[in-house]
């Protein structure tokens, strides 16, 4: 259940004011003369018609141009500047930056090299979208507050807690989940090493830890034990697998696992 506030109930406090709703018949405030209220500012369809353009909706070409993306872009370009080519169906104002929501809109995300179209509201985390819209349940919801690393994914190669990342922020990035680490049934060396060293027990923390280990190895091909410990500092395992995880990372990087004593 992503996005939960703890289900305690608010005591008697003045509630924050509700979002401003222009009165029926009044303009939306953008100066375009339309009579849409806040909640209808999201275009109903993905096609921006000439009529919609004339009514004050910025054309798709203008929008993408101002965001530095070519009109032909499909929303899958890598690189830090590629973004809202994948934002389709949203409303834009002539005189301001693009605003989407609060209702769900279609966006395209690049997950494990594949373009996935999902219909999501801005108030959605990447973790929630992965698990519920894309059936990618490998990334786990454990603490939902970025404290335990169980939801770890790679965003443009960087290790990130997907529970604290709004799904909209994933637009224009390359997301790698645990499911994307093995290709065509062939395990990533770190996955093989995890199995060999029994670096797992119940397995619930395992996807987050495997992704974190992969991030360490991408950054440091032969990490020291201290570098491994620091790199995993954002992950928690309750069953207690860390010892074998360290050995798995050492071996996957071509180093020797820690040798225990022979006995006396």
């Amino acid at each position: 259940m992503p996005d939960n506030a703890p289900p305690s109930s608010r005591p008697d406090m003045s509630p924050p004011p509700p979002p401003v709703q222009p009165a029926a018949g009044s303009t939306c405030g953008s100066g375009c003369g339309c009579t849409r209220t806040n909640s209808t500012l999201v275009a109903a369809s993905t096609n921006i018609t000439p009529e919609a353009s004339a009514a004050g909706v910025v054309s798709r070409r203008f929008f993408m141009k101002t965001l530095g993306v070519s009109a032909a872009a499909t929303g899958l370009s890598a690189g830090a500047d590629a973004r809202a080519a994948s934002l389709i169906g949203e409303e834009r104002r002539i005189d301001g930056p693009p605003i989407v929501g609060p209702d769900p809109i279609d966006v395209t995300l690049s997950i494990n090299g594949k373009a996935e179209v999902v219909k999501i509201e801005p108030a959605t985390t990447l973790l929630h979208t992965l698990r519920m819209d894309l059936n990618l349940t490998g990334s786990k919801e454990i603490c939902d507050r970025g404290s335990c690393g169980g939801c770890s994914v790679l965003v443009d190669g960087k290790l990130v807690n997907s529970c604290l990342m709004l799904a909209m922020d994933a637009v224009g990035t390359q997301i790698t989940t645990i499911e994307g680490l093995s290709k065509d049934g062939k395990l990533d060396p770190i996955q093989e090493s995890f199995i060999r060293h029994d670096a797992l027990q119940c397995g619930y923390c395992t996807p987050g830890l495997v992704v974190a280990c992969r991030a360490i190895l991408n950054d440091k091909p032969k990490p020291s034990l201290d570098e491994i410990k620091t790199g995993l500092g954002g992950n928690i395992c309750r069953c207690g697998t860390y010892t074998n995880i360290f050995n798995a990372v050492l071996e996957a990087s071509g180093q020797s696992p820690i040798m225990d004593q022979k006995g006396v």
């Binding site: 005591p11 406090m13 939306c28 500012l41 830090a80 605003i99």
Partner: protein, 334 residues
């Protein structure tokens, strides 16, 4: 999380405009989102507009997130803690900042959390973070920490709120004479010393930015002899219980001047001018003298019922930060 719209400003100026956009009753900036999303999930914030400045940059495309500009260190507001921690420029010009950034939180958080977001994050006080406590900071009548569980709360200040400011970057910026650059108001910048206020001057927020002001970038003086030391209960992801930040000017082993500050001990980054004054002209080899100077760190402290132990830790952290700033080895690992 409540339902909200999300805007994608292309520049900090656009973000500033959206912050005062009257069509929304509660527009809010979101950079990395580490702190904002936490608030949304706890029901503490219910904005109707999030202004997404996660990748918004003030500098031109040719300027790196962390760079040297006119002899100073320049940091984009959206530079991540990871950017700062590994930046060759930061490590050279202001190691205290790089160390403080690199020690914060976890790898996952550091890859996302931004410099400005780190400065402006709200406190971790567990009464503040639980919506069922109508505490002073949320407009209620009470500070629950005073009579309650205050082991991680402030040892300085007269209240009425006893949070500790949670930022690692803020005290580091302070010892480096940092400047916060802003747009959207009637000023271009403010010194870091003016960014925060004590609770007696206002308890509903911690910083002094005016409505509509947006941080564009940070600058600070080159402070190559600088260091950071934090005491944490857990060495994995955990908040410091005390942290110390030091910038030194050295003549051989003699400290000619110093700037010292503490974190996790007060509602604002806590300057320690008394310690800095006492360190002047001391030799780094004068262990007794150093300890005596650092002991002044707790002057004026007002510990609460459960956090007196911080008084023992603070002088130790200060002394170790000084030694790290000087590049000295310590008997303990940092």
């Amino acid at each position: 999380m409540n339902k909200f719209s999300m805007a994608q400003p292309r520049t900090p100026a656009e973000a500033a405009t959206l912050l005062v956009d009257k069509r929304f009753s509660l527009p809010m900036l979101k950079a990395g989102g580490i702190d904002v999303v936490d608030h949304l999930k706890e029901g503490l914030y219910q904005p109707d507009l999030l202004i997404n400045i996660r990748r918004t940059r003030a500098g031109d495309a040719g300027t790196a997130n962390v760079s040297e500009a006119g002899g100073k260190l320049r940091i984009e507001s959206s530079a991540t803690l990871a950017d700062i921690a590994v930046s060759e420029v930061a490590l050279r010009l202001a190691p205290v900042l790089a160390q403080a950034a690199g020690n914060a939180a976890s790898p996952q958080v550091r890859n996302v959390a931004t410099a400005a977001g780190n400065l402006l994050q709200r406190p971790r006080c567990w009464y503040y973070r639980h919506e069922q406590f109508d505490c002073l900071k949320k407009g209620g009548p009470t500070c629950f920490a005073i009579e309650g569980e205050n082991r991680y709360h402030a040892i300085f200040g007269d209240g009425p709120c006893h949070i500790v400011h949670p930022s690692n970057l803020a005290p580091a910026m302070w010892v480096c004479n940092g400047t916060i650059h802003v747009i959207g108001g009637d000023r271009a910048s403010l010194p870091i010393a003016d960014l925060f206020h004590m609770p007696e001057r206002g308890v509903r927020d911690e910083h002094n930015l005016k409505p509509g002001e947006v941080v564009t970038h940070l600058t600070c003086e080159a402070s190559p002899k600088s260091g950071f030391y934090a005491v944490k209960e857990k060495q994995s992801f955990d908040w410091p219980v005390v942290a110390a930040f030091a910038v030194l000017a050295l003549d051989g082993p003699t400290i000619t001047s110093a700037r010292i500050a503490a974190g996790a001990v007060a509602p604002i980054p806590w300057p320690l001018p008394n310690v800095a004054a006492a360190l002047k002209n001391l030799s780094l080899d004068d262990d007794v003298g150093l300890r005596k100077a650092c002991a002044l760190a707790t002057e004026g402290a007002k510990p609460m019922s459960e956090n007196g132990y911080k008084l023992k830790l603070l002088p130790v952290a200060v002394r170790r930060a000084v030694l790290i700033a000087a590049g000295r080895k310590m008997e303990v690992e940092a």
